[in-house]
């Protein structure tokens, strides 16, 4: 057993686990944060996407011990003040989900995409950036719409703030 120490959604946490425990299991089982999903065992579906030190990663393919010392944001941490993050609001507004299984990963991916390339997103860029996220329900159209809309809204917000 090894002690893993993380900052999760702004809160310092630690827990004991076997070295082979995946970060996603640590988050779901040890921390009880079940918003992060597991949809495959081949590192391909993206339903487990979280942010580690500010970058989107697949938490199903990282050991909890590997992540020890880092800052993690999960879907639960996006709407900390009880108000939806603009990306979440855009998914709701544009019907960017059906069953919702892929949604936490999609939203975390969209936030990362906007962090890195915000203000310059086009439909083509969004579609290529969604390469690592699979949705079995929506056919992606409304997800792409939601991401573009959130990007435009957040860019406008940034401009207004300047």
């Amino acid at each position: 057993m090894t002690t893993v120490t993380l900052t999760v959604n702004g809160r310092a946490v630690s827990g004991e686990c076997e070295d082979r425990m995946l970060l996603v299991d640590f988050i779901r089982v040890k921390l009880g944060l079940t918003g992060t999903h597991v949809g495959c065992d081949t590192t391909q579906c993206g339903s487990c996407v979280i942010h580690m030190d500010g970058l989107s990663v697949k938490s199903c393919s990282i050991l909890a011990v590997q992540a020890s010392g880092s800052a993690i944001t999960t879907i639960e941490g996006l709407s900390a003040q009880g108000e939806m993050h603009p990306v979440q609001a855009a998914f709701k507004e544009h019907h960017g989900l059906q069953c919702g299984f892929c949604t936490p990963g999609m939203v975390m991916t969209a936030v990362d995409m906007i962090n890195r390339r915000g203000g310059s997103l086009t439909e083509e860029v969004v579609r290529t950036e969604l390469e690592g996220n699979i949705c079995r329900c929506t056919g992606y159209h409304n997800i792409v719409k939601a991401v573009l809309s959130a990007d435009a809204e957040m860019a406008a917000g940034r401009q207004a703030a300047e």
């Binding site: 082979r20 697949k58 393919s61 990282i62 590997q66 990362d112 950036e129 690592g132």
Partner: protein
């Protein structure tokens, strides 16, 4: 996944000695290949020695036209490096098409080149640029480094520390990505270097990445996509799998090589 013991190394020497005391140890970089493989129980190392926190393995430097990329540099950092882009945009372009954004934010050049997956992208750049694979023990020319499917000249405990190359006059990379995995079903890296034209093919060879002499000759005589029209690609040493047979790959090699030359300009 089978049980394993994790160790975080803070220097290359520490990593080598941790590996030395392990029963069946493996180095761990981004884990985008290794952890996935362990989850499927296709690998079961007794110990994992994490290289991600070793500062000697980090960082990109460009001095004049000499590019050095530390082994722990992630694909996303190569893709977005302005310093590399200024002298060799082809390798940034290649890195930006590996897998997906999340894989690029964990996976490293050292892991990819050490692993030498026959469908990986980086091996074609390393061979195509005539790069030097630098390890904790020696410098290995690319032509001697790739020895077969998932096989390299690296010894058991040797650590790949950096990839070093001289920026070419021109270079380009084109891949036909497998629609599901995004690995190369065929990828071709072409470069006009001080030592001559080099053409490296990944995703297609039955023995892994290889150079194509016929294409190199044709492009040395005339650097243009059309120069490749008359070059024959022999399918006999190419892979056949559920995605494509050898003849199809032979055709893809030509098409990708032409696109790569066109991109290089």
């Amino acid at each position: 996944m089978y049980a394993t013991s994790y160790h975080r190394a803070s220097s290359v020497d520490e990593a080598v000695s941790l590996r030395g005391t392990a029963e069946d140890g493996k180095y761990l970089a981004g884990g985008m290949t290794l952890i996935s493989t362990m989850k499927q129980r296709l690998a079961a190392p007794s110990d994992l020695i994490d290289l991600r926190h070793i500062s000697q393995l980090a960082g990109i430097s460009v001095e004049g036209r000499t590019v050095r990329i530390g082994a722990a540099t992630r694909h996303a950092d190569v893709a977005s490096s302005q310093a590399i882009r200024a002298v060799c945009p082809a390798i940034c372009d290649l890195a930006s098409h590996i897998g997906d954004p999340h894989v690029r934010q964990m996976g490293t050049i050292g892991g990819s080149v050490a692993n030498n997956d026959p469908a990986a992208d980086y091996p074609s750049a390393v061979l195509g640029l005539g790069a030097t694979v630098v390890t904790n023990q020696r410098s290995i020319p690319a032509d001697d480094y790739f020895t077969g499917l998932f096989e390299t000249a690296l010894e058991e405990r040797e650590i790949l520390t950096a990839i070093v190359f001289e920026a070419p006059e021109k270079a380009g990379y084109a891949k036909f990505a497998n629609p599901a995995s995004r690995y190369a079903m065929t990828g071709v890296f072409v470069a006009k270097t001080a030592g001559g034209v080099r053409v490296a093919v990944t995703g297609a060879g039955a023995g892994g990445v290889f150079r194509h002499a016929g294409m190199e000759q044709a492009l040395s005589a005339q650097w243009s996509p059309d120069a490749l029209n008359a070059v024959a690609v022999d399918p006999s040493n190419l892979m056949t799998d559920m995605h494509a047979d050898a003849d199809y790959r032979a055709n893809l090699i030509k098409v990708m090589a032409k696109r790569a030359v066109a991109k290089a300009g």
